[in-house]
Symmetry: C2
């Protein structure tokens, strides 16, 4: 092996170790850490983050990357080696633009912001969060200034989550979704009865149901955990150490769907090709692509009729008091009911993306400073009225419901809706390639589905950009919201209340 390449790989393996150490610190912070541990944890994350930044952006890494140009050009574009050099160079050039001090401050204030958000949400009082939000927003804008202005300063944020994507592209997709989704909500008619999904669903039984289900999706034994947290997420410390989290409520089964959602993220991390481990390629190409998988397993599998033909019996046996007398059709209507609601993570598939558009539009105003942060709760209420037809009565149910902004994570939300869009673009191809897919799902057999995704998506990690990835799988890298809209229109027809 090329000696410079071997040296680059070793350096990248060590920076990857640091990134994964930070992931462990972050997972612990959000699942296990005692309340008073936050201040010290913020310092620990800042220090490891600072060293990670220094090591990765070192002149030496730049020199190695530069010297490796001939080696890179001698190799196929899609080889692991050329991809590692190409993607690392892009990352290096981006990260070099951010001073280490600023990167450290963003991490530290992000940890503090998260703690402030949690306290403010518990008190349902935006004013408790405002100072921290100001700080992380100021840092986010300083971060954006490190990059060449695109059409919008928002491009800098978006690029961190969807490399190469422009704000204008997102806006184009959302401009299609906005009127169509509000139309579909109207078409859906009155919401189906789901009263039987509210009652007594002991958490331990939900956990047991999921412990049986997730391995069937494709997880190896001894390679994953599922833990409770406030705001569900998935992280991984290697393909064989995947940490999913969920939020249980004994009053309903929402956690089942939230867990299948995180399992989709988890399968992506679990499926990484061994040759890409301990490198910058050891993750998915973008949040949108990652989200396409969480939505696939949560919705395209997990809310489908074939899936529940297999699993509704076991679910009834798990919760007989609640479900023994409820038929499959009524259950399917309930879990697929469409009705505007206040909380994004509880939203149905149609209104979900409206929640995202709400946040995207507010973020545009924040970034362009046309909206003062103290006016955010009121702006939220107005947008909610406009897009969802309902208005939160409290900050906890409104502007404080999500953690993302507390870390300065502008540009993150749109990727959720892009994930919905991409999931259907991929699903149409899967339906074409895998004849008998519905029968397989109805038999609880996920091997072919998982194998298709593993082969085409998961194992490649981040070798290709999101656009390249879609091109390789679909023949075109363009986002197309139409399959998603068709899918929703069909669904609201099928699941019209009886």
């Amino acid at each position: 092996m090329n000696a410079a390449f071997a040296e680059l790989k070793q350096r990248l393996a060590e920076t990857h170790d640091l990134a994964k150490a930070m992931a462990v610190l972050g997972w612990d912070q959000r699942t296990m850490m005692p309340r008073l541990g936050g201040e010290a944890r913020a310092g620990q994350l800042a220090t490891v983050g600072k060293i990670h930044h220094e090591l990765f952006t070192s002149d030496e890494v730049g020199r190695l990357l530069e010297g490796l140009r001939p080696y890179e050009e001698s190799l196929p574009y899609d080889s692991d080696e050329a991809s590692l050099i190409r993607v690392t160079r892009r990352d290096w050039e981006k990260e070099r633009r951010v001073p280490a001090e600023l990167a450290g401050e963003i991490l530290r204030e992000g940890s503090r912001g998260q703690a402030a958000w949690l306290a403010a949400k518990q008190a349902s009082d935006f004013s408790l969060f405002l100072p921290a939000l100001r700080k992380v927003t100021e840092l986010a804008l300083r971060y954006a200034e490190c990059f060449d202005a695109g059409d919008s300063p928002y491009d800098a944020f978006l690029d961190d989550y969807e490399p190469g994507m422009k704000t204008a592209e997102v806006k184009a997709v959302f401009d299609v979704l906005r009127p169509e989704l509000t139309a579909i909500v109207r078409e859906a008619g009155p919401p189906a009865d789901d009263s039987f999904l509210h009652g007594d669903f002991p958490v331990a039984r939900q956990e047991a149901f999921l412990r049986d289900l997730l391995p069937a999706f494709g997880f190896a034994d001894g390679a994953w955990r599922l833990d409770p947290t406030v705001h569900p997420f998935c992280t991984s410390f290697s393909p064989r150490d995947v940490r999913m989290t969920t939020r249980y409520s004994p009053a309903g089964v929402r956690a089942l769907f939230a867990s299948m959602h995180e399992a989709g993220h988890g399968l992506y991390a679990h499926g990484l090709g061994p040759s890409l481990e301990r490198s910058p390629l050891a993750r998915s190409p973008s949040l949108g692509l990652d989200e396409s998988q969480s939505r696939t397993w949560e919705n395209l599998v997990g809310r489908s009729r074939p899936f529940w033909e297999r699993y509704y019996g076991p679910l009834q046996e798990t919760f007989p008091e609640q479900l023994a007398g409820v038929g499959l059709d009524d259950y399917l209507r309930a879990i697929n009911r469409v009705v505007p609601s206040l909380i994004r993570v509880d939203a149905d598939e149609v209104t979900y993306s409206l929640h995202i558009i709400l946040r995207f539009e507010l973020e545009q105003e924040i970034v362009s400073s046309t909206l003062a942060l103290e006016d955010l709760p009121e702006a939220w209420r107005e947008k909610s009225r406009e897009l969802l037809g309902i208005v939160p009565e409290t900050d906890a149910e409104g502007v404080l419901q999500d953690v993302h902004w507390s870390r300065g994570g502008y540009g993150y939300f749109p990727t959720y809706a892009l994930g919905n869009v991409i999931s259907l673009q991929l699903w149409r191809r899967i339906q074409h390639d895998l004849r008998g897919l519905d029968d397989q799902l109805a038999a609880g057999d996920f091997h072919q589905l998982h194998g298709w995704l593993q082969e085409r998506l998961y194992r490649h990690g981040r070798k290709f950009t999101p656009k390249e990835t879609l091109e390789r799988v679909l023949g075109s890298g363009d986002l197309d919201p139409q399959p998603f809209l068709e899918y929703l229109r069909e669904k609201v027809q099928v699941y019209q209340p009886a």
Copy 2:
């Protein structure tokens, strides 16, 4: 503030953050990590450890320490500042002698050794552990060679856990304990009946009992956790993030005592003075002093009559099926029964230190290469017969019972017995200073006891050496096994079977 001192403090804060990041990785590894996560975790620990080593042992830190000599000499010996410089210099000079490569390898192979030990223990097959043990032992001996030979190469190991202590001092204490303890075992007579401590003690109720008890000892709300693990330990990520672990069995209450033990370690970490945080002073002076506190809360408090005068009622209410018909006297005899047994962590207060002497004597032979590692199981059995009068039938109950050697941790075991010795030296002084202590314990009031320890020990962290610490508290820094032996002799008299 002196600018060089401020710079030193900042550098030390960052290395401390890395050490604590490693502590989080280690805690997770031993409590939460899925089975297949071990290999990646070993790499992560090795990388963070290597960077920690490089940063701490940098020329720049040495230059700062050297330049700070006049500042240090201008300050009182017991000031935080002089202590930080003095202790850091000692650490720096020690760690400079260890090449970064070796330090990294020790960490990496230690993680692997731990995994090999776990598998070997589960299979009760020493041969599965032998290759890893050879590797970590070879690394440990290479480590010892980095230092000037003392009277024994074992001095180098011991110094990591008991700074300044020599093998000869330990041997002198153990030479007293060995015959005296075996004599006390004989005096104890036939073991008391403890059949009622074996049965049905639901783990959830044990957890609830501990959740009520530990805050009474002195833990602040939101600053600690107690989790299950295989081999109980305590770690902390700050004084406000203390992680205790225990091993529950539904068949007995051993976990209550194991948890009070870890709580003693936890209180030490929890009580650190704020001015010492994020520095090399932010821990106890030695494992022996730390262990003195775990033994204080486990045994001197947790197996005492006054303590159970307060807590036996609640315990009976927690486990009425087991204990409703058992009187306090019989319960006290049972939890204080003396009988040789195979497993160190389950041993009573008298035989416990014999388990330690067994390991210490084997370690002397390993380090001097008079015992080949493949002969260790047989040597263990012989020593066990000699010291305890019983012989393990399996490796799991013998040589594989403890994790320490799997990480190459020679020199660690003796500190457990030293902790017993020190705990009584301190306790005699506490009994002198705190009149009415028994009445306080009998009222479940630990404030004065905790306050005494907090003021004299916990808050000072590692400002002083173990010897200095004992000198400051007791007037003499010498180890004295007599109070411990007197305590045991008195106990076996009091708790003679009825």
